[in-house]
């Protein structure tokens, strides 16, 4: 590793050769503004916000893509000229922007707005023709408003990174717009609804569809029994919306806040995750013993399911028939819970809080729900829950810890780690190994499948059978494994796929961290660590040990994979086209 002595703004530093100016500045506590840069996936130097002066270089250079190669390089990031140009750059962006900050969903969390504040812009400096677009509200999961788009192309990169690429730049010059081929609406193309574009958008051009009004309305309706359940990963991320450090576990505060919001019952989707493991684990054992389609692939992630349906419809038989934890929980609330509490399921409104915007699509899928009822009525994202808490005036950070409500209050550690890539596999292995050996195994941490590598693989000897497993997240990586299966070369028995890179903790509905944070901090690792830490401290760490899970099978479902379980907890998939 070669170190170079350089100067930044006249001060001496030492950096590794080929570090970019942006990274070097970050190391030494200097923030260089960026709008388009996303580490590894969007290094295009297009927004021109990060321009810096390098002594001897021809013109200004883009800090995000300029590697420091020479000893003695002198860099200036904060000269009057650079400040003036950055300000002008922002003023140009504003001259073709709708500037409706007060009603913008990203007000107060907008990267453009923050930079405008830092550089003291005059929003009327440049005036002229503005491009006008109609909002695309065609899909269930997001709303696209190109009048707020600054053409940074982060969304295009995020979509490409998911191997979906349904959005890109249409037209050129001043008329450039990010949209689908032939300017079709998003519901006309094979968008998988992952929402990764909404997480990286620096402005309010791509936002989740806001369903909070429906939730408030349901809570205010005295004839409705409103039940909420929260996904495993929400507890590791919700705090970020209230200024808490990344990776804070806020399970208790969240339960209190949900009770304060007026929900009649507050359940934990970890229970649904445990139920998923019981069903999925049983299905896997069945497939191995009966010679079913292998490898079996998990089905918890609705974005991944839609991807498979669009792009690999021939591999649908490999998908587990289990519903996702969200759908299982909803189905159980409207059957088991309704029966126990003596409430007509038609009067129950189930609200799910998910790290995901594809869940908004999933709740309305065919083959989910029954008797004309959806399993879940409304699905909101982490961000929407945070918004509701703020609207209700609840001082989240000051709340006492609360508890979830029985009969779906307990989630095992296996359920909690569902939120991180590798978690479903580990949870399933914990249960499958115990069932097959008939013992309560003391060694149940499968660390090989943890972490943020693209593809993690391992072979475990479970009761004399070698089980080859693979875990992947991000559809780009999933596609590699799927191509192997298609070619008949896959050696795996069981594969976990999560749509979003890193799993649900990095889902499309999770809190938005600005570029200057996400480029330098691995959000996934910090958030995942909160879940693994939660797992270590829970009394039950295997799904089948969860007493409420035992109760539901004893009292209601019979045994995993029973006829009733199949009716309520399993589903089917459809082949979709790419175009």
């Amino acid at each position: 590793m070669e170190m170079l002595n350089i100067k930044i703004n006249g001060k001496d530093y030492s950096v590794e050769k080929n570090t970019t100016i942006l990274e070097a500045c970050h190391q030494f506590g200097i923030k260089v503004p960026t709008l388009c840069y996303l580490k590894d996936i969007n290094e295009i130097g297009a927004c021109r916000m990060c321009l810096c002066e390098v002594k001897g270089a021809r013109g200004l250079v883009a800090a995000c893509v300029y590697p420091i190669e020479r000893e003695g390089t002198e860099i200036f990031t904060n000269t009057p000229q650079i400040r003036k140009y950055r300000k002008m750059n922002l003023e140009h962006l504003l001259s073709n922007h709708d500037k409706k900050c007060l009603s913008c969903p990203r007000n107060d969390n907008c990267e453009l707005q923050k930079l405008c504040l830092e550089y003291g812009v005059d929003e009327e400096k440049f005036q002229g023709e503005e491009t006008k677009y109609k909002e695309d509200k065609s899909t269930l999961h997001l709303v696209r408003n190109n009048n707020k788009c600054i053409l940074c192309r982060r969304c295009v990169a995020a979509c490409k990174n998911q191997y979906v690429s349904v959005i890109g730049a249409n037209n050129r010059g001043f008329d450039t717009a990010i949209s689908c081929a032939f300017d079709q609406d998003l519901d006309q193309v094979s968008c998988v609804s992952c929402g990764q574009c909404t997480v990286v958008c620096p402005t309010g051009a791509l936002v989740e569809r806001d369903d909070t009004a429906k939730v408030f309305e349901a809570i205010a309706d005295p004839t409705k029994h409103v039940v909420v359940h929260t996904a495993p990963s929400i507890r590791a991320t919700l705090g970020e919306c209230f200024g808490m450090p990344i990776g804070s576990n806020v399970t208790g505060k969240m339960a209190t806040a949900l009770h304060m919001l007026g929900f009649d019952k507050v359940f934990d989707t970890n229970f649904g995750a445990d139920l998923t493991i019981m069903e999925e684990g049983t299905e896997f054992i069945h497939r191995v013993k009966e010679g079913g389609t292998l490898p079996m692939i998990t089905s918890c992630s609705p974005g991944w399911i839609k991807f498979c349906e669009h792009y690999y419809p021939d591999l649908i038989p490999h998908l587990s028939t289990c519903k996702s934890p969200q759908q299982m929980q909803g189905a159980m609330i409207k059957s088991y819970y309704a029966e126990k509490a003596g409430i007509d399921p038609k009067d129950i409104v189930v609200v799910s809080v998910m790290p995901c915007v594809a869940k908004k699509f999933e709740i309305k899928r065919d083959n989910q729900g029954r008797d004309g009822m959806q399993d879940n009525d409304i699905s909101i994202s982490t961000r929407e829950l945070a918004k509701m808490i703020k609207t209700a005036g609840i001082q989240f950070t000051e709340l006492e810890d609360g508890e979830f409500d029985p009969i779906m209050a307990i989630g095992s550690g296996a359920g909690t780690i569902f939120g991180a890539s590798g978690g479903v596999m580990e949870a399933a292995l914990r249960t499958v190994a115990d069932i097959l050996t008939g013992e309560d195994l003391a060694e149940f941490e499968y660390k090989e499948v943890r972490g943020m590598d693209d593809v993690k693989e391992a072979t475990y000897n479970v009761a004399g059978i070698d089980v080859n497993v693979a875990v992947t997240s991000g559809l780009k990586n999933a596609a590699k494994l799927l191509d192997e299966i298609r070619a008949g070369k896959s050696k795996y028995h069981f594969i976990e796929v999560m749509c979003c890179p890193g799993g649900c903790i990095n889902g499309g509905g999770q809190p938005i961290q600005p570029g200057h944070v996400r480029n330098f901090v691995d959000l996934r690792e910090k958030r995942a660590e909160a879940l693994y830490d939660d797992d270590r401290h829970l009394p039950f760490r295997k799904s089948h040990d969860n007493p409420e899970i035992k109760a539901i099978y004893d009292e209601y479902l019979g045994e995993p994979g029973s006829h009733k379980a199949h009716e309520l907890l399993h589903t089917s998939y459809v082949k979709r086209k790419k175009y």
């Binding site: 295009i44 200004l60 750059n89 140009h92 001259s95 002229g128 010059g173 001043f174 008329d175 450039t176």
Partner: protein, 181 residues
């Protein structure tokens, strides 16, 4: 410097503001739209030039334009944006007086910018043949009450409020009686 730097010969009948606008229209069309200075900057520059050629410019606008040119040059990602403002900068450097004539006097010295032109008939030169009136596509030229000394017919005059500045009258007057400015 115009375009790719080829040699272009122009005389006093070419308006320097208009020619800068012409070259800029090309780069605005050709901009790929990736970087902000080229995508929006060249568009705003063109809009400023357009205002100047319509007599809506101000002296401050000329300074702002110059500042904008240097911004686009220094900040654009590729050669297209980096050279796009050259025609404006070159004309500002060597023909600033033409820009000033446009914004202060609201005149186009080369007689190109239509919004700044008015057509007149010199009644003493006009012999009243009526050729201009017959060629006028909007019938805005009519005989006046004035007969110049030594002429037999009344001189013609142009109703400038209806004139579309097509130049047909100038082209067809054999006596040099029609002028623009």
């Amino acid at each position: 410097m115009m375009g790719s730097g080829g040699l272009i010969v122009m005389d006093e009948t070419t308006c320097m503001v208009d020619i800068a606008k012409f070259f800029l229209e090309f780069t605005v069309d050709e901009s790929c739209g990736k970087c902000t200075p080229c995508r929006i900057g060249t568009k705003r520059l063109l809009e400023m030039l357009d205002k100047i050629t319509k007599g809506q410019g101000t002296l401050e606008m000329i300074d702002e334009m110059e500042e904008l040119c240097y911004f686009i040059k220094a900040n654009s990602l590729c050669g297209l944006g980096q050279t796009a403002p050259n025609p404006v900068l070159s004309t500002l450097r060597y023909f600033r007086d033409e820009y000033i004539a446009h914004v202060v006097d609201h005149k186009c010295p080369a007689g190109v910018c239509k919004d700044l032109l008015e057509f007149h008939i010199d009644k003493d030169k006009c012999i009243g043949c009526g050729m201009c009136a017959r060629k006028c596509p909007v019938s805005t030229i009519h005989p006046s009450d004035y007969i110049a000394p030594g002429k037999k017919k009344p001189a013609y005059q142009i109703d400038t409020s209806k004139c579309v500045k097509c130049g047909a009258c100038i082209d067809n007057c054999k006596f040099g009686a029609v002028s623009k400015g």
